[in-house]
Amino acid sequence: MAVMTMVEAINDALRVEMRRDPRVVLLGEDVGIKGGVFGCSAGLFKEFGGDRVMDTPLAESGIVGAAIGMALYGLVPIAEIQFGDFIYPAFDQIVSEAAKMRYRSGGEYTVPMTIRTPIGGGIRGGHYHSQSPEAYFAHTPGLKVVVPSTPADAKGLLLASIRDPDPVLFMEPKLIYRSLKEEVPAGEHLVEIGKARIVRPGKDVTLIAWGGMVGMCEKAAAKCAEEGIDCEIVDVRTIVPLDEATILESVKKTGRAVIVYEAPKTGGFGGEISAILAEKAIEWLEAPIVRVTGFDTPFPYTLESVYLPEPGRIREAVLKVARF
């Protein structure tokens, strides 16, 4: 197995699937000759040519709308939106069209399309290169939402997303695009959509996170361990469909839950997880559910490190619920 960053693992997944399935095409801004602004499609234009790795005009709605058409026809398109912050012009195509096509046509038409987009802070990107818009999309029936937290998961979940018969929004946390390296299985490597991962077993407090925040939770858990608090970490992996069973099992064991996400607090997907815990695990809870999140502000440039949840803030929350 080769040691890879998440960018390299994504690149590997794209190459594996494009070699395996001639119906797979890639389209987006700068994905061709340049290989993507983060290099996720590096080398693919050279190997597969401009008919399968398409540089498009600069229009997100156009990219997603055309990809929907390609999927309707029978191709397996992977559309790249250069930054999650720029996905909003395509919101209508994603929410009104891709997500509803199977339902409204009684299964006559389907959209087996993957939209890849980098999300989250950590690269000093200010308002428009840092957002985590997963909650907007989690509210859309018919759309799967996947957020990997490791290079190996990025590969396995991306392959599963491309092969999924329904539209998948695959959100790639920029914070750990290159900062994290690990061994990634070569060739075929599938991670099932809809299964959370226990990152670290523990008995006192459950930390629930996804994407770039999983690593923050690991650091916080190490600190807490020094203080005698044993944290279990659940990496949600897929926002939709959510693996409630794994989350509930963990919280019923620990009786305490801290949910960590970097999006603004209000209306964030962690609020949904909190509601699920309140509905289905209230009798097991020993303390209030606490969220550690971004603030209800636009994403800041200079004060980015204050905005983003970090191990110190997570540790404070863990101590609060552990000592409740």
Binding site: D51, G65, I68, G69, Y73, G106, E108, A245
Partner: protein, 395 residues
């Protein structure tokens, strides 16, 4: 459609048509039949086969009659809504007739007639309007939102202009697959203001995609007239910006519509790239059964367009050619009405969609959340007893 090449029919049409058009000039719409049914398409006359001409006539008359019957059903409360197309039949049927069975259609609201032309059974169309469980979409959408996979007629949404990008994507995919199909994206005049109109034409131009954009400029987007939609002199003029031809056609002249659309389709199929067609027509009734156009427009305007009726125009032409007689016309109408009556009868036999259909087809498989919600809904209904809450009623 077993007719000969339309090029022969209109070999020297443009100049003659321009001279005969209502607004002669560089961007005057192509016209082959005058409102009185006389041929103005130049020397040689109309070259379409008699059976083709009669098929076009039947196709237009069928959707005119269907409009009347469906509006009656709506007023009787048997369907909830209807988006009619009275006055636009030539644009609908003429464009549909230019396509082959293997081609694709991404429709807007007023193209149910295109699906019918492509073989959608009329009872299925009506069952969709009734929200019946017997129809493929299981009553999930409002009336007039059809899907017909067998004829590559893509499921329609209510959202404006999104479908144009689907047509471009379909065309691009076919181009990459070396499959000589053409994708037709339908739109109205209002859709030309949407960002997806711009995106679609731009992408199509860059990719030289085999797509035809067919705009039914019916002059009104609900209550907003064309003059408030754009400052451009025409919709066809917008094509220039995307590196494709823009063509104007008299949208109430089915022969002219068929002719320009065939040329655009052939151009796309042979690798020549996209075309934007602007068919000038008029929405004579409301936007839908929910709209009262007397609140925002003069009835005199409507009367002017009634005098340009597309069905009357072809009828006069056929009568003059001796292809139609009053008796034959009456027989055709009776036959079409009988087919609609039979369609209504069959459609009404369909049951309500089952509760299960609320949860299926969100994804290929039910998620745990959907399974749980379905079970809860079933349990709740079982506990309450009786049938599902009624379609229009409250719980």
């Amino acid at each position: 459609m077993g007719s000969r090449s339309p090029k022969a029919a209109t070999a020297d049409a443009p100049s003659a048509a321009a001279a005969a058009g209502p607004a002669a000039g560089a961007d005057a719409p192509l016209r082959l039949l005058a409102p009185d049914g006389s041929w103005v398409g130049g020397a040689g006359g109309n070259a379409l086969a008699p059976e083709t001409l009669l098929e076009l006539y039947r196709g237009m008359l069928r959707i005119r009659l269907l409009d009347g019957r469906m509006l009656n059903l709506q007023r009787q409360g048997r369907i909830g809504f209807f988006g009619q197309c009275t006055g636009q039949e030539a644009a609908i049927v003429g464009s549909a007739a230019a396509l082959e069975a293997r081609d694709w259609v991404a429709p807007a609201l007023r193209e149910a007639g295109v699906a019918l032309w492509r073989g959608l059974p009329i009872e299925r169309l009506i069952a969709q309007c009734m929200g019946k469980g017997s129809e493929v979409s299981q009553g999930r959408q409002m009336p007039c939102h059809h899907s017909f996979r067998a004829a590559n007629f893509v499921s329609m949404s209510s959202v404006i202009a999104t479908q144009l990008l689907h047509a471009v994507g379909i065309a691009r995919a076919a181009q990459l697959s070396k499959d000589p199909i053409v994708a037709m994206g339908y739109l109205g005049d209002g859709a030309t203001s949407e960002h997806d109109f711009h995106c679609a034409l731009n992408f199509a131009g860059v990719w030289k995609a085999p797509v035809v954009f067919f705009c039914q400029n019916n002059q009104w987007a609900i209550s907003v007239p064309f003059a408030k939609q754009t400052a451009a002199k025409s919709i066809a003029a917008k094509a220039v910006a995307y590196g494709m031809p823009g063509v104007r056609v008299d949208g109430n002249d089915v022969l002219a519509v068929l002719d320009v659309t065939r040329q655009a389709v052939e151009r796309a199929r042979s690798g020549g790239g996209p075309t934007l067609i602007e068919a000038l027509t008029y929405r004579r009734l409301g936007h839908s059964s929910s709209d009262d156009p007397t609140r925002y427009r003069e009835q005199g305007e409507v009367a002017q367009w009634e005098a340009q009726d597309p069905i009357e125009r072809l009828k006069r032409h056929l009568l003059a050619l001796g292809l139609l007689t009053a008796a034959k016309d009456e027989a055709i109408e009776e036959e079409l009405q009988a087919a609609i009556s039979e369609g209504i009868r069959i459609a009404e036999q369909g049951g309500e969609p089952p509760l299960e259909s609320l949860f299926t087809d969100v994804f290929a498989e039910l998620t745990p959340q959907l399974r749980e919600q379905q079970a809860a809904a079933q349990a709740e209904l079982a506990a309450r007893g009786g049938p599902l809450p009624s379609h229009h009623g409250s719980r």
